[in-house]
């Protein structure tokens, strides 16, 4: 019931719709009980029939029956619309909120929750909550109501002695239902586990198919799989066996009840204390008691599942924003400075970044190089405020800490191209215009030209309208990177950040793009001398850094070398050695 307390806000907001649905349910329950009663009465009038032809009363009863049938039908259709519609609205509401919460989270959140789990929460878990708010309410209310009404009719209207005797098997049915549904619940969980084991095994075997084939493991892999599949079949069988119990339980209990009804009823009829019509009515009522017995077990199950699911959804909804967005300053000066910046990942032992200092005046280019795992991407994530170190005054934009600016204002300054370019399931044009959906086609094409991707795009059959992303065309790594660069350029943000964004592009294209960028930078700075555009370029390939005003070499989180390209190659450090290596490699590839 804790679930309903948690969802109280929703029930309160929608109390009118719930009330209407429940009133309709009540009407349906009452009217449904009238039908057996009408049938019984009609039988009794027929049994006492004398004379020729059917009486007006007979036709009247039939007419009532028809009217009742249609009324019940309409009410049933209506409450379904209302009740299920409302619970679907709850689902929509939760899903929207969930999505909005996601847009407020930083990289720490996304690296500690895997996508599959988040998606399960947004879909399957919300489904379970919906089910509880829709069918849970239904089965609880309707089951209880039908149960009470049927008992009242049996005891008060027909014969309490008959009712007391005939109902004896029903508690047994309730207990049996409860136990069966419990057993199924556990067995079902086991079946799910077995299924997921089967899934894992299949995944493992197929991703290691080369080894399987090379070692001739086909037979032994199949044997392992067969065993798991048999286990899955066995647990499925258990579930099926428990489910198969429902039928005989209902059947036997009902048989006993009918037997008791006929015996006791017959005796009462013989003593003229009961009519045949009433006996028929009573038998029909017995059938209506099955649903309430079933509903209670069903309700417990739905609510249990709904509660667990809601907890998982709510956990995400109440998670506070990872990055506090309370800045108020506006950006006026684009110089970026790091003062002894250090950062350690939560739970990490060693600092990922250690005592990093640099100054990037506006209009300049900062190059960053260094071996993998040196902390280059972490540095960018801190600059973008995707992550945050405990001390917030180590990174400054225009002499103010980054947190002094609203996130929107801050990120508006950066044209960021991540290491792994990400394309959304949209057209190429929409992907480039992501930051500015209102950009004209000329602007989009201009950005594509600067990123040296325009010619490639024109070669596709649908040109700029070609759909990309998961369901669209597959682009090569280099094409994806260049698209992401075009996207960043179109945003018009003054500070360009390339996080190894040219790694999949060949050297010629790389030089072409770098030249375009330099041109553009000069052009922009001429136009707007007060806020000159600057750039941070991370690259594995050192040729992309040659023109940078300053280059930092990061190794194991700290700055091991710094200077201009020509200065650095004169030393015998990592940079100079790497430079030689890359030149040697180029002769191999030529």
């Amino acid at each position: 019931m804790a679930l309903f307390r948690h969802l109280a806000w929703f029930f309160k907001d929608n109390w009118r719709t719930y009330l209407i649905a429940l009133v309709m349910l009540t009407l349906v329950a009452v009217l449904s009980l009238t039908i057996p009663w009408l049938i019984g009465r009609s039988i009794d009038t027929l049994m006492n029939h004398t004379g020729n032809g059917l009486t007006a009363e007979h036709y009247q009863t039939l007419f009532f029956l028809l009217v009742l049938g249609v009324t019940i039908y309409l009410l049933r259709v209506a409450w379904r619309w209302i009740l299920f519609g409302t619970s679907y609205r709850l689902g929509n509401l939760l899903r929207s909120r969930f999505y909005i919460r996601l847009t407020h989270q930083g990289q720490r959140f996304f690296s500690s929750h895997n996508t599959g789990d988040l998606m399960a929460r947004a879909t399957n878990d919300i489904d379970a909550v919906e089910l509880a708010a829709g069918e849970g309410v239904l089965s609880g209310f309707d089951g209880l109501l039908t149960f009470v009404l049927v008992l009242v009719m049996m005891f008060a209207l027909i014969d309490w002695r008959l009712a007391a005797l005939a109902l004896l098997p029903f508690p047994l049915m309730g207990i049996a239902f409860y136990r069966i549904s419990n057993a199924i619940h556990h067995q079902f969980r086991e079946a799910l586990e077995r299924f997921s084991a089967l899934n894992d095994k299949t995944q493992e075997a197929l991703s290691g198919i080369a080894l399987v084939k090379a070692m001739g493991l086909e037979a032994s892999e199949s044997a392992t799989f067969n065993q798991l599949a048999e286990g899955a079949a066995r647990s499925n069988y258990k579930v099926a066996r428990s489910e198969a119990l429902y039928d005989p339980v209902i059947f036997i209990c009902l048989t006993m009840a009918v037997l008791l009804t006929l015996g006791c009823g017959g005796w009462l009829i013989a003593r003229n204390e009961l009519t045949v019509g009433e006996l028929t009515t009573f038998t029909l009522y017995l059938g209506q008691l099955i649903w309430p017995m079933f509903a209670f077990g069903w309700l417990l199950n739905i609510i249990e599942r709904g509660s667990a699911a809601f907890k998982r959804v709510d956990e995400m909804l109440i998670k506070p924003d990872e990055i506090v967005d309370q800045g108020t300053a506006t950006v006026s000066d684009l110089s970026l400075e790091a003062r002894a910046l250090s950062f350690t990942y939560p739970g990490g032992h060693e600092a990922t970044l250690d005592d990093i200092s640099f100054n990037l005046p506006s209009g300049q280019v900062l190059g960053i190089a260094g071996p993998t795992g040196a902390g280059k991407t972490t540095l960018i994530q801190l600059i973008m405020r995707y992550r945050e170190s405990a001390e917030t005054d180590q990174l400054l934009l225009g002499d103010q800490p980054l947190s002094a600016y609203p996130l929107q204002e801050l990120r508006r300054c950066f044209a960021y191209v991540p290491q792994e370019p990400f394309l959304f399931s949209m057209s190429i044009a929409d992907n480039i215009a992501l930051a500015r959906p209102d950009a004209s086609r000329e602007e989009i094409e201009a950005a594509a030209r600067t990123a040296a991707i325009h010619e490639d795009i024109l070669r596709f059959k649908q040109g700029y309208e070609t759909p990309v992303g998961e369901r669209g065309m597959t682009l090569s790594g280099g094409q994806r990177q260049r698209l992401a660069i075009a996207r960043a350029l179109l945003s018009g943000a003054p500070l360009l950040i390339l996080d190894d964004a040219l790694s999949a592009v060949d050297v010629e294209t790389e030089q072409q793009i770098i030249a375009h960028l330099q041109q553009r930078q000069r052009h922009q700075s001429d136009q707007n001398p007060t806020s000159k555009s600057s750039a941070i370029i991370i690259s594995h390939r050192l040729s992309a850094l040659e023109h940078a005003d300053e280059i930092l070499v990061l190794t194991q989180g700290h700055v091991s070398e710094r200077g201009s390209h020509s200065e650095l190659i004169r030393q015998d450090g990592w940079y100079a050695r790497m430079w030689v290596y890359q030149k040697l490699e180029a002769t191999l590839d030529a």
């Binding site: 679907y88 892999e221 066996r241």
Partner: protein, 596 residues
Amino acid sequence: MHDSTTEATLDKDSRHSAFRLLFDYIHRDRRLLFKAVGFLLLATAADVLGPILAKIFIDDYLMQNNFAVAPLAGLLVAYLVSQLLAAWLRYHQTLKFTDMALAAVLDIRQRVFAHVLKVPMRYFDHAITGQLVSRITNDTEAIKDLYVQFLSVVLSNVILLIGIIIAMALLDVQLMLIALTLIPTIIAVIYIYQRLSGAAVARTRQLRSDINAQISESIAGMDVIQAVNQQQRFTERFEQLNGHYYKARMRTVKVGAALLRPAIDLISVLVIAGILHLFGTQVVMGVAEIGVLYAFINYLGRFTEPLAEITQRFNLYQQAIVAGGRVHTLLQEPQEHYPDSSLAIDHGSLALTNLDFSFEADKPAIKNLSVTIPAGQFYAIAGHTGSGKSTLLKLILNFYQPQSGKICIDDRPLAEYGHEALRLGIGFIPQEPFIMSGTIHDNIDMGRHLPREQIEAAARKAHLDRFIEAMPEGYDTYLGERGTRLSAGQRQQLIIARALAAAPRILLLDEATANVDSETEQVVQRALNDLRGEVTLIVVAHRLSTIRDADQILVLSQGELVEMGSHKELMTHPKGRYQKMYRLQKQAEKVEKAAH
């Protein structure tokens, strides 16, 4: 236009074969089938007998005020026995059908898994693993749902309906005919429902998968969305989709509410009214028996339930047929074929002549490559990224067949060797050491059921024996997934032992590309030196230091063999490719040093 028609016929074909695949199983175990059907028929007969007995009680005894003890007791016993028997038989019939269904699905599952493992390697280049896994597990699960439901629910409900109709006919044909109108009416309603809801249900499913896709895409691209400050726009986009989903679902609820349960109940009320009316006219004519009406009303209560159940299984049926079609297609995928020969690899000499191979036309991966490797020699393959060295290894492993040219082992073409001969004669050490969760013994044996001595000998050769014997449980020590109890070097040793356990004549080693610590590198070095002369060694080297001692080094560039010789010989060519690679590697080491 033309495309869509062929697709449609294909679809029909695969539908048909999916159907055959599924229903072949039903009469596979005839005895079980007969038993189950027999149980079902008996259960139904016993079941419908109940209301008839009640009718006899009402008409012949109650209404006649005849309370003779003996016949009444007889009726009571008959009633009890028939109903308990019906319950018992029905339960067992359900279990029998479930048994059949699960056995069938188990068999399909095992068949499709075994089949996929034997599909040629080429297939896996383009297959998406996630999708294949889904064929083997999710799709067979959908088939299971259909089977269990279809056999135990649909079939038994159809038989129950027939039983009820027969019982009704025995009681009163006229009344039965009125009740019978229920069936065509409900079939019509279901048909209309299918027509109206089909599109809505499909749309709901589509939108749901769109929602999934959009969430997963947004999670993956959240940094980009945040970088360009488009959270608001993406939220609106999601809400729009969410709204469409709501509308589509409401459509299915509306259609379902109007045509399923409530409609079926309404129709049954109408039929009861009809029966009451007809009964009324019978009363007027003086031929009515009240017990008949009682029995009919009882039957009608049972009548609607099976129909409603059958309706609800329709969607399952459609899903299962689609899933079955996909599984069937997968089962049709041709398997790789090995000859049935007793030829064994005795020496391990290799001869490659004029090999040509390409994954895609016009992009040759191996060009006109010829080389002869005498048994027991240590040959290394070197080359820059993309030079074709791993591809050459895959050709020797018979994962792919060359477009032209020939690979011979001990002077016999590769294609003449059976599966067994190849897997015993050729050992393979892949780049990524794969440790399964199991004991050390299991990890060396890998399901080949090798004798214990052979496993211990292999561990000795890999210098792992002392370590294993020092463990409290020795060879039976349990290793968790990915073998986290072992160091990187020990994992490598274990893989070497595994490859050596079957005493292969040829050992292929694909050296790890990733950074390997010096311990691991030494392990590999030492093992290779020990094996010299015992087996033919072919090593794809990414670090040239591993192969300094090789008898011959083959240097590949863009699929061609450009240089060949020992390390010393190759180093004497001042402009040679090997020499350049060597210098590059030395430089890489220097870079590496500067990074620490």
